[in-house]
């Protein structure tokens, strides 16, 4: 079998070399599956449940794109990636898009040659300390031992923050969020720092969450968003506008409950009509069906619904909308018009 697999791989490789020039959108359509890179597991954002089905906020984006392109939210091959393998997986073409709570930074966008298509979660780095430590501000953390994930922007932000405030710290490097929890609880580090969403999720899992406080300082901007490879703008547009469709749907009041009625016939609001494909040719411009956005929204609901289901206030993670509210509600979600 070894040999036949090998020859098979060679054949596939040769075929793929020919197909690679055709553009990711056509590849995905031909394959019938979207290869979407996700994390190997982050509470609320992506993790398989007891039945092996991937669930989570980032997973929702993958499913929406798959629904928009292929009409089937389950036509996704989830490729789990770690903080270290995610970019090579995308650059090598193993995955079509990466939705793995990845911070949009200059060097990743420009130097690593990726294209961030938007932001699905505005995060920021925070600190959590035990109440018993008696600390009320991050500036009092001089000399503290800090648990920090390696290979992430949080590591760099931490160094920057302590340097600008001229205080010292001792890093305790860890690999995953799951490893940080017992270390922090056992007192191996005084402080745990990661994105505020991660802190909230971690704290929610503690036996006595009230014994720990998240300090008020948010020391960085962490716009997390899906990304694709440079140089294939058509595909980038598809992913970007699939995400935008989810956000716009919430703004326009289109939910998974009323979308079937709204899309049945053109209504009074022309923007909704254009979004749902009952008016105009937006889908055609993207190279998709006219009802692409309708399928994307039906995959898991609009942005707000996905948020509430996976990380919202009624889940154990209990994140408020905060910066991730619509611009009309004082948040940062502001999508360009569908016109």
């Amino acid at each position: 079998m070894k040999k036949s697999v090998f020859f098979g791989a060679l054949t596939v490789a040769a075929l793929a070399a020919g197909a690679a020039a055709a553009g990711t959108l056509d590849d995905v359509k031909a394959r019938g599956k979207l290869n979407c890179g996700v994390t190997t597991g982050l509470v609320g954002f992506a993790a398989p449940d007891a039945n092996g089905e991937w669930q989570g906020f980032d997973v929702g984006v993958c499913r929406a794109v798959a629904a928009a392109v292929l009409g089937d939210p389950s036509a996704v091959e989830f490729v789990p990636t770690t903080g270290k393998t995610r970019f090579t997986a995308l650059a090598s073409g193993e995955i079509d898009m990466l939705a793995r709570n990845t911070t949009w930074t200059f060097s990743r966008d420009v130097d690593l040659k990726f294209e961030f298509v938007g932001v699905n979660y505005y995060d920021g780095q925070g600190f959590m300390v035990p109440k018993a430590l008696g600390v009320s501000s991050a500036k009092e953390l001089d000399g503290a031992t800090v648990c920090i994930q390696t290979g992430t922007t949080t590591e760099l932000n931490l160094a920057d923050y302590f340097r600008t405030n001229n205080i010292s710290y001792e890093p305790v490097p860890i690999e995953t969020n799951a490893e940080a929890q017992p270390l922090y609880l056992e007192g191996a580090c005084d402080v745990y720092t990661t994105d505020a969403s991660g802190l909230a999720a971690t704290r929610a899992a503690f036996e006595n969450p009230a014994d720990h406080v998240v300090l008020p300082e948010i020391i960085s901007k962490e716009p997390l968003g899906p990304l694709v490879r440079h140089g294939d703008s058509e595909w980038g547009d598809v992913v970007r506008w699939s995400l935008n469709a989810l956000i716009a749907a919430e703004e326009l009041g289109v939910t998974s409950a009323n979308i079937a009625d709204m899309a049945a016939a053109a209504g009074n609001n022309p923007e909704i009509n254009r979004l749902l494909g009952t008016e105009g040719t937006l889908g055609e411009m993207l190279g998709l069906d006219a009802d692409w956005a309708k399928k994307a929204i039906m995959a898991g609901g609009n942005y707000g619904e996905i948020f509430e289901k996976n990380i919202g206030e009624n889940t154990p993670i209990g994140l408020g909308r905060g910066l991730n509210a619509q611009w009309t509600d004082g948040g940062l979600l502001y999508v360009p018009p569908f016109r």
């Binding site: 791989a9 596939v12 070399a17 190997t40 007891a50 929610a204 899992a205």
Partner: protein, 431 residues
């Protein structure tokens, strides 16, 4: 003087005395305790300290096990039931048990397939491990790899059958040509096998539905099954490869020798985790985009190469320990190189190398958990990734890692006990 011994000697006893139990002061549990545990003040202190520590550990751990919760659906429910008492939340094991065993993507209605393969493994391995068993059982061993592949990965039975046919034809050609020379037989055999495999595609493709099980792609393998597959396959492949490398390193033929030396030294000089990253990440750059060279196969190749290099050095130690006279004696009997190796040198050298080989094998089996860092979901990958990152089980640690220990320990301990038994069996020299 001559009659001194003819008279019976009254003071020499002519019947054996009955065996008697030792006096109470020299036997019995009390004496044993006194002699072994309270022998002098220093040992008494040590004993008391040891008892104290054992008591602390047991009294600390017992409630955790005794109060353990087995039936809830999340950590929060566990805590509700325990109401602040000490107690393990073992429900994570019951709820995620299939995931720990098979990973989260192996279709649940097909779990019986790897399970059967697992039990067949015992029948296949037994005749190799215990030479007292009937030799006919080796047939199971020969069939097992193909059968297990079919069971675990699915697809048509014809594919593994055709692979096996190719190997058999190759072997037949080898035996036919071996009379002329070993090398010729080898080359002929390999060519014949490749030809059969090349033709195989024409037969299996149209008949892909024959005796087909549902196909499970490699990406869907996971859990302890993945560790086990990697461990078994890599150990059984790296042993012959390692022996060949060790022999090659001793060869008089310069090119072969240097290929082996460079291979061994290079692989041994690189950490396994680096090789795994190469397998996972860097190969992706070399292969054209979209191609997907089976990930498990890549990992198997890397781990096999790694442990083969180590086994080669262990076997070389065994070869070096043999006196030169053995090879010379074999030569003087008229045995050629292959015969003298097979009949004289290797049996002795391998016997010496057993502890080292087993050491490598146990290490390799445990090293299979390293694949979790290249985002494969083996046992450790499952625990670290999906289970600990699920909203329900975020925060359960001891229970899961304890389970992982209980998965690995019996197997590693079993391997080590087997090797000790084998050494005793083969200790012909000093009996």
């Amino acid at each position: 003087m001559s009659d001194t011994n003819t008279t019976p000697v009254a003071f020499v006893r002519d019947a054996m005395l009955q065996e008697q139990t030792p006096p109470v002061t020299a036997a019995g549990p009390v004496t044993w305790i006194k002699k072994n545990l309270f022998d002098g003040w220093f040992n008494t202190i040590l004993t008391l300290l040891a008892i104290y520590f054992i008591y602390m550990i047991v009294s600390g751990a017992f409630p955790w096990f005794y109060n353990g919760v087995w039936t809830t659906n999340s950590l929060a429910e566990c805590r509700e039931i325990l109401q602040g008492k000490t107690g393990g939340c073992f429900s994570v094991l019951t709820e995620r048990w299939p995931q720990l065993l098979f990973g989260f993507k192996y279709p649940s209605e097909e779990y019986w397939r790897p399970t059967i393969a697992f039990f067949l493994l015992f029948f296949a391995a037994a005749p190799v491990l215990f030479n007292k068993l009937p030799r006919k059982m080796l047939i199971i061993t020969a069939i097992f790899p193909f059968l297990a592949f079919w069971l675990i990965w699915g697809g048509s039975l014809l594919v593994p059958v055709m692979v096996a046919v190719g190997l058999i034809i190759g072997y037949v050609v080898f035996t036919k040509l071996e009379y002329q020379s070993f090398a010729m037989g080898l080359i002929g055999g390999i060519v014949a096998t490749l030809v059969v495999w090349g033709l195989m595609g024409y037969i299996t493709d149209p008949l892909s539905g024959v005796l087909a099980l549902e196909q499970v792609p490699s990406r869907d393998m996971g859990g302890f099954m993945l560790n086990f597959i990697l461990g078994v396959v890599c150990v059984s492949l790296s042993l012959p490869l390692g022996i060949l490398l060790a022999l090659g390193r001793q060869s008089d033929m310069l090119i072969i020798k240097w290929i082996c030396v460079v291979f061994i030294e290079f692989i041994r000089g690189v950490p396994l985790i680096t090789l795994l990253f190469v397998a996972n990440v860097v190969l992706g750059y070399f292969l054209p985009p979209g191609s997907n060279f089976d990930l498990i196969l890549r990992v198997i190749i890397m781990i096999t190469m790694f442990s083969a290099a180590y086994i080669a050095e262990v076997v070389r130690g065994g070869l070096a320990a043999l006196p030169k006279g053995q090879a010379e004696a074999a030569g003087s009997l008229g045995l050629d190189y292959a015969q003298s190796m097979r009949l004289i040198i290797l049996p002795q050298a391998l016997k010496i190398s057993i502890p080292g080989i087993v050491n490598v094998a146990v290490g390799l089996f445990k090293d299979t958990v390293l694949v979790s860092v290249i985002s494969m979901f083996d046992l450790v990958g499952m625990i670290r990734g999906p289970i600990l990152a699920s909203t329900e089980w975020n925060g359960v640690y001891w229970e899961l890692w304890l389970a992982a220990v209980l998965f690995f320990f019996p197997i590693c301990y079993g391997i080590s006990q087997y090797s000790q038994w084998l050494e005793r069996q083969l200790a012909t020299g000093h009996r």
